[in-house]
Amino acid sequence: MGRCIVITSGKGGVGKTTVTASLGLALATLGKRVVLVDADVTLNNLDLVLGLEAAVTYDLYDVTMGTCRLKQALLTYPDYPSLKLLPSVHPLGEVDKTAFREVVEELAQTQDFVLIDCPAGVDDGFVRAVSAASEALVVTTPTATALRDADKTLGYLDALRVSKTALVVNRVRGDLVASGEMLSVDDIIKLLHVRVAGCIPEDDVALSMCGATPVGTAHHQAVNLLARYVIEGKGKVYDPTYIYRGPLGSLRRWLKKA
C-alpha cells in the first residue's frame, strides 16, 4: 500500500503545485512509482505544470462519476513512466469526498506515493483533499503572511487527525537569509515548532520550467534532498546560505544586490 501525502499550504501562490510536480519527478527519478492527483478542482494547474494539458481526455471528476475507469484518466509523464497524473479539468464539477477518498485508496494499491495537490484555503476542497491522506507537507514561503497561514493549516491538519506533518519552505533567498533580511529555516522551526522536510531556494529557472529543473542546479539538489527526506522520514535539508558565507559569500551577496 502506497503512502498518501497531501501537499497543502493555506495561503495561495506559495508554489504548492510546483513543489508537488518537482517532488513527484524527484521521487520517480529515485525509482518510486508516483501518481500526482490534482485535487485543486476549480483552479487546476498540475496538468499545465507537467506539460500534459493537451493529453487530458478524462479527469478526476469523470472517475468519481463513473464516466470512465481510473486507468483511462491517468496520464503518464513522457520521460518517467513511473510518474502519472490524475488531472482535474472540470472547473464546476463537484467531486464527492467519499468518492475522492476511494479513488486515492485505489491508486495507493499500485503506487508507492500518491501526492495530492490541495487547493489553497481551508474550505471544503481542503477538507476533501486532506480526508484522503495520512500525511501532509505544508508548503510555505519565509514570509510572515505565509507562515501565519501555514501555522493555522497545521492546526487544521491536527484537528483532521493528520498526525504526520512537515513543512517545506519554498522560495528561500540564501543571500537575504545570510544578511539577516529573511527568516532562516531555524527561525521558522523555532516559531512554528514543526519538522522541516525541505528548503527550496528561489530559482528563476524553476519558475520558468515549472518544476523540471536541470540537473545540478540548487533547486534540483534541494528537491532531491526533499524527496529523500520524504522517503526516509528524516535527512538533510538544503542550506541555501552556504554559498553566501565568508568573504566570497559577501561578494556574491553584493553582486546579487547590484
Binding site: A144, R148, D151, S179, G180, M182, S184, K190, L191
Partner: protein
C-alpha cells in the same frame, strides 16, 4: 535590528494570539481550570485571577499567573 529578527518577533506575537488569545473560550476555560485548581489551596478572589502570555526571544513563551487570595487553607 535585522529585518528577519523583527519579522520573527512580530510573527511570534501574532501566532500566540492566533493559537490562544484570540480564542476567548480558551482563555475563559484556562481561567476557570486555574481557579478550580488554586481554589483547593487558597481562598481565592476569583475576579483577581489573571493570565498573561508573553513571547520570549528564544521562541518560547513566559506564562504569568497572578491571583489574590484572602487566606491559605490548612
Amino acid at each position: 535590528m535585522k529585518k528577519a529578527q523583527w519579522t520573527a518577533e512580530r510573527l511570534q506575537n501574532v501566532l500566540m494570539q492566533d493559537r490562544f488569545l484570540q480564542g476567548a473560550d480558551s482563555m475563559a476555560m484556562l481561567r476557570s481550570d486555574l481557579a478550580n485548581l488554586l481554589g483547593d489551596y487558597f481562598d481565592l478572589n476569583r475576579s483577581s485571577l489573571s493570565v498573561t502570555v508573553n513571547p520570549v526571544k528564544d521562541g518560547s513563551y513566559r506564562v504569568t499567573i497572578e491571583a489574590t487570595a484572602v487566606r491559605v487553607y490548612r
